[in-house]
Symmetry: C2
Subunit: 131 residues, 2 copies
């Protein structure tokens, strides 16, 4: 496992984080994701963390970095699927993920992106067309 | 890592396999997926294997089982993102994944599902609505 797959869905990219992120994997993800946003002209990034039972400060910082990098490339980042226990722990640890938008699940995250990003050629965030 | 997350996207479900599947994980995935198909009335399942560099007979059989189970629940399964090297190895090993539909990437797989499944209330496979 040396990289996390990035799936393209119309004008958005979807990343599902399932494994513990160590330094190298996080850096690889940042590199891959920024290249991919640039290559396909993505308008939004969905990061699913539903299978993470622990989100420590390293992962929190990685998510914040990804969101910042995406923003300067004009793509919005939404973190989706956070487990309730993770939310509790994060806030108790004083990490409230400032600057990171979240949504309950990937459907709501996609809905948010569809309504808040301008997608060329279509008002639909997922119409299956190649753009 | 004790389960693989299943993401709902409209009437379809998306599973991204990133880790080596051992017996227990495969069984858990089958259980989770069949329950989920039944719960949400899913019409299709996309299984992304783009990060797998090796697909052995166990994974092949697991994919075939999932496809069969989905079919009896009236959901179609599409395996997407297979690496070229994996395709070569599979055929050389005599495993051509009979009965499993494949697509190059998740976009094309979603497009196939949209065109080949009947989704109630909408002709669109991804309209973000709750149904």
């Amino acid at each position: 496992m040396d990289r996390i797959p990035i799936l393209r869905m119309g004008p958005f990219l979807l990343v599902t984080i399932q494994v513990d992120m160590h330094d190298k994997l996080a850096l690889t993800l940042q590199d891959d994701l920024t290249s991919r946003i640039s290559d396909v002209g993505a308008r939004g990034v969905l990061i699913d963390i539903s299978s993470l039972e622990i989100v420590d400060s390293f992962i929190g910082r990685t998510l914040a970095n990804i969101a910042s990098m995406s923003r300067v490339l004009d793509a919005e980042t939404v973190v989706v699927g956070m487990q309730p226990a993770v939310a509790i722990t994060l806030v108790e640890l004083g990490m409230s993920l400032p600057g990171i938008r979240t949504a309950l699940n990937v459907e709501l995250g996609m809905e948010y992106l569809r309504q808040n990003t301008i997608v060329e050629g279509s008002g639909d965030g997922w119409d299956g067309s190649e753009d």
